[in-house]
Structures are given as C-alpha cells and as structure tokens.
C-alpha cells in the first residue's frame, strides 16, 4: 500500500478472498484434525495388537508379531470372560428389546393417564451417571442379602444390564414409530385382518429396522459396560472387568486382538445394514427411465424389480 487509493481498493477484495479461503479450509483442516484425534486411540489399539512385547506390559512398541492374532484366547480366563460378556449381552439385549419395544408401542399408540410420568421414568436412567446406577443397585442387593441377589453374581449383572438398556431401546424404537403410516394398518383391518394378524403382518415388519437398531445399540452398550458391571458382578468376570483387572499389571496383547476384532465386526455390521437399508429405501425409477436402465444394466434393474 503506497498511499494511493487504487491499490487499497484492490487489497480489500483480496483480503476478503483470503478470509473466505481461510474460513473454508480452516474448518476442513479442523475437522480432519478432529477425526484424526478420534481415530488415533483405535489405531493405537489395533497397532498394539500386533506388538511383540517381551513381558506382560504392552505399552511400548517392540516389534511386529502376528502371534496374538493366531492365538487370540492364549491367556488364561480370557475365553471365559469373553463368553460371559457375550452371553450377558445377548440375554440382556433380548429382554430389554422386548420390554422396551412394548413400552414404545404403548407410548406412541395410546393416550393414557401416566404417560408423562412414564416418559420421565424412561428418561432418567439415561441422565443418571453409571456409577450411581451401579452403586444404588449394589445397596439394594446388599440390603436383600440373600441369593440370587447377594453375593452379587451373573444374575445381578443381567438384571443391571436389562435395566440400563430399556431406556435406550424405548428411545430408538419410539423414533421409528413416530414416522409410521397408520393408514397401512387400517387398510389391513379393512381387508379383514384382526389386530393380531395386522400387528405381525404389517406393524412388526415395518418397525423391525427400528427394533434391530435398538437391539444393536443394547448389545454394544452391554458388552462394553464396565462401571455398572463392576458394582454388580461380585466374583463373576466379564471382558471389561478382565481388562480393568489386568490394566495394573499389563494388558495382554490378546485383549487388543479381541478389542480390534469387536471393532471390525461392529463397523462391518453397521456398514452392511446401511448398505442394505439404502438399497431397500432407494426410490423406484419411473417406468420409462427404468426401461432405459434395464437395457444398460439388466442385472441391477432386475434387482430393483425383485425388491418392488
């Protein structure tokens, strides 16, 4: 800027452009950085699943070894605790998904006295810290003082997991029920179906994706839970409890292997369901365009038709 007005006038748009450039790419850079930050621990977990530590401690990189992957349960107890976790997750998912779906149906389909109170009771467990959920259950079990509640065991873990999963199922299924077209049910009833048939032939298939999503959420919450389980497990050990117990003396490489495998399975599962859902909800092409496409891609058009 030499003091004349002309360069100053040029400088303004240039500065504005520079700011727009920054505004645009700074956000992208920030987002890339944030996603890197989110992924870093997962990457480290996976990397240390092929580590070759000489001792028990697996916190420093020593060298590449695939041994742990070839022998994922090569640590005493590890198989048992993973099995316990999977069994607890399966059973609590089935129970919580059933109970939660019934509550969601009642809340969305019926106007009844006490629905506001029900909503609060559904919401509160999600807003209560896990430690309070676990601790209060433990005081209940100690107060009862007799089997099967005390000493705490597999049954008490299951009770706790069903409890904290119900709310998440209700919220997930309810979201799906809100967008439900009730005319379809009325049509089925008009065509002579009774309520029972209508539910199983129309309602249930339509809300099934919501129920499946809820079940997936419940399963992943249950299999990963440490805090509430710690308060209700007694001598029973689950996979997270095993990790906690070994954290002080050194987490074995095999734990990283199983963690990485769980991660890959979960990501694969979500990717698969997303692809299937996208395919199912893809709008049908108009007839003319469909014919054109049929000439170009016979296989795909046949697929769309089959789905229709």
């Amino acid at each position: 800027m030499t003091g004349t007005t002309a360069p100053a006038q040029h400088a303004r748009p240039r500065r504005a452009a520079a700011i727009r450039f920054l505004d645009r790419y700074l956000l992208y850079a920030y987002t890339a950085f944030a996603i890197l930050y989110l992924m870093l621990p997962v990457a480290v977990m996976a990397l240390f699943s092929v580590n070759d530590p000489p001792g028990k401690s697996n916190v420093i990189w020593h060298g590449f070894s695939f041994d742990a992957w070839l022998n994922p349960f090569g640590v005493p107890q590890l198989f048992d605790v993973v099995r316990t976790s999977v069994v607890v997750a399966l059973l609590s998912t089935i129970a919580a998904t059933t109970l939660g779906t019934l509550i969601a149906l009642a809340l969305v389909r019926y106007n009844f006295r006490g629905s506001a109170a029900t909503n609060i009771l559904i919401f509160l467990p999600m807003a209560t810290p896990e430690i309070v959920l676990g601790a209060s259950l433990l005081t209940l079990f100690v107060a009862i003082g007799d089997p099967p509640f005390f000493p705490t065991n597999f049954v008490t873990i299951l009770i706790a997991h069903i409890m904290f999963n119900i709310s998440y199922v209700v919220v997930t299924v309810r979201a799906r029920l809100y967008g439900f077209d009730r005319h379809l049910e009325e049509a089925a009833m008009d065509l002579g179906a009774n309520e029972w048939t209508t539910f199983w032939k129309v309602t249930f298939p339509m809300i099934l994706p919501g129920i499946m999503a809820a079940a997936l959420l419940a399963f992943s919450l249950s299999i990963d839970d440490y805090v509430i389980t710690a308060f209700t497990a007694g001598r029973t050990s689950t996979f997270p409890i095993f990790i906690w117990g070994s954290a002080r003396i050194g987490v074995p490489v095999q734990v990283n292997v199983i963690g990485t495998a769980f991660f890959l399975i979960a990501v694969g599962f979500v990717a698969l369901t997303t692809i299937l859902q996208n395919r199912a909800s893809r709008p049908l092409p108009p007839p003319a365009a469909g014919r054109e496409r049929a000439e170009l891609e016979p296989g795909r058009a046949a697929l769309t038709e089959a789905e229709a």
Partner: protein, 335 residues
C-alpha cells in the same frame, strides 16, 4: 362390547407393565435404598442397622471427600468445555459442508466408540506415556524437556474424559444444526449481514481469554500466559471468522443442542472414575474413585451410599432445572 372396551383401555398398561416394573424395582427403588443405606451402621459380617442418628455420615463424608467432589466439578466442567470446542466446529462442518460425505463423516465420529471404553482409555495411556509414541520422539528431538509429562496429571484425566464423552456433545449439536433452514442464512446475507465487527473482536477476546484462563486454572497451570494466548486467538477468530449471520442465526438456533450436549457430557464426566484411575495419579482422584473404592474395596457402604446419594441429588437437581427451562425433547431425541 363392554369387556372389549375395558380391554382396550387396559392395553397400554399391559404393554407398559413388565418394563416399567423392571425400572421401578431396579432403577427407582435402588435410589431410595441408597438413601436408607446411607443411614446404616455396622458391617457385612454383623449386619446393618438403620438409625437416624447416623446422619453424621453426611457431614463427615463431605468434610473428608470435599476436595474430590470439587475436583469432579472442575474436571467435568473442563472436559465439557473441551468437548464443546472440538464438537461445535466438527458438527458445523458435517452439517453445512458435509455434502455427500455427511453420513460417512458422522459414522467416523461415532465409529471409535465401537471399541471398548477401557481399551480406548488404555490407548491414551500408551499415546500420552512419558516416553510414548507422542512425547518420546519429541523428547528425542529436544523439543520437550526430559521431565515433561502429561500422563498422571489433570490434563491427561480431563483429556481422557473429553475424548470418551465427545459423542454426547457432537450428536445433539449436529442434530440442532442440521435442522437449521439454510435459506435463513442466505436471507441474512441478502440483508447485508457481513463480518461481525467490532463485536466479534471484543466477544472473541473475552470468551477466548476466559476459556483458556479457566482451563489453565483447572489444570493448575499458570493462568496469565494461557489467558493471553486465549485472548489473542479469540480476537483473531472473532474478527476474521465469525460472521453476523452466524452470531445472529446459526448460533442461537443451535443453542438447544449445545445445552443438551453440555448436560449429557457433564453428567457422565462428573461421575467418571475410569479416566482418573487409568490416566491420573493420587492427586487427581475424583468423587467416582472414592465411591468405587468405598463400595468395592473397603465395603464402607454407609459412606459410599451417602456420597453417591449426594451426587445423584445434585445431578437430578441440574436435570430438573434444565427440563423446567428447556424441556426434555432435545435430550432424548439424540440420546
């Protein structure tokens, strides 16, 4: 006909009964039992007796564990602030600039949480280790002094909490940003909404200084250099990046998401003990650590029950105030 009407009326209650009963017995009642248990005296072996005289457990617990309570609030607030700083620009980019990669980006935000909570935290222990993969090379290059450490300090604990509860902040903010009608922003620009000056410089400097200073205080660092750094970056961001349309339209419309996200992050952050245990030291113990060890290691049920009852009441009050002011819709729609 009459019987059928009755049945129709009863249906919702029959549907509700099993699940609600479960929640009443195993969620609601245990809260009451916890209150009763805080008046216990005795041990597991001799059995417990309830007596109102044991109210002294409360002041005794507060006096003994006051610092841990305070630390939980400070760490929880610091982690919530950090979550906000990371989550808002992230959610903003995904909602407004995501384009066709929106679902993929959203998935990448959630994907890390498919791994175990404990393993994620364990990974941070590896990353932040004194000679670990992050600081080891920096120390070798001489960029950091040999005594520099993050692990076993408040920074590591707060960073771990912020990492683990980030989706609770990101998703509600994303949901509220996603709902904003883009035409509103265009209309504002048509009506000559431009850069926000000088308001942006002043507000940016103030907010930046307070945030950085507050975080430094929480981490027990020197406040002044961090506050200065915060003021400088706040002024830069406020002057050059904040537009009037953002301040007047996008930010106010996304506030419900910000409030919901803050509450959903602060609550679990305050009750957490895993991060403080794995990433901290004895000087970073939070109230969750005390409750956990009183319950599970010392079998000191009355004190532990009193502490967790106070934690529960504090959080229920916060939730009630929030629900009274803003309703519960934002909290449950994205949770």
């Amino acid at each position: 006909m009459h019987a059928r009407q009755w049945l129709n009326r009863l249906t919702p209650y029959l549907l509700l009964a099993p699940g609600i009963l479960w929640l009443l017995v195993f969620y609601a009642y245990p809260g009451v039992q916890m209150f009763i248990s805080s008046f216990w005296a005795g041990t597991l072996e001799t059995g417990f007796t309830v007596s109102l005289d044991n109210w002294t457990t409360y002041p005794a617990a507060l006096e003994r564990y006051g610092p841990q309570f305070g630390r939980s609030i400070v760490y929880g607030a610091a982690a919530t602030t950090i979550c906000f700083l990371i989550a808002y620009p992230l959610a903003y980019t995904i909602a407004f600039r995501g384009g066709r990669y929106k679902s993929l980006l959203l998935f990448m935000v959630i994907a890390p949480f498919f791994t175990s909570f404990l393993l994620r935290t364990q990974s941070w222990k590896i990353i932040l280790g004194d000679d670990g993969i992050l600081f080891g090379p920096l120390k070798d290059l001489g960029l950091l002094g040999p005594d520099f450490r993050v692990l076993a300090t408040p920074v590591a604990v707060v960073a771990g909490i912020a990492y683990n509860f980030l989706p609770f902040m990101t998703l509600p903010i994303y949901v509220s940003l996603e709902k904003i009608d883009g035409r509103l922003v265009e209309a504002a620009k048509d009506l000559f909404a431009g850069p926000w000056r000088p308001g942006g410089s002043i507000a940016g400097g103030l907010v930046g200084g307070l945030t950085a200073g507050g975080l430094a205080a929480a981490f027990e660092y020197d406040i002044v250099p961090f506050a200065i750094l915060g003021v400088v970056s706040g002024v830069l961001i406020g002057t050059f990046l904040l537009s009037e349309s953002f301040i007047r339209i996008v930010l106010p419309l996304s506030l419900p998401g910000v409030f919901a996200g803050s509450l959903l992050t602060f609550i679990p952050a305050m009750g957490d003990f895993v991060n403080a245990e794995l990433l901290g030291n004895t000087q970073t113990r939070m109230i969750g650590n005390v409750i956990q060890s009183r319950f599970l290691e010392n079998n000191d049920y009355p004190t532990a029950a009193a502490l967790s009852f106070m934690l529960m009441v504090g959080i229920l009050i916060a939730v009630a105030v929030y629900a009274r002011l803003l309703g519960t819709k934002e909290l449950t729609s994205s949770g």
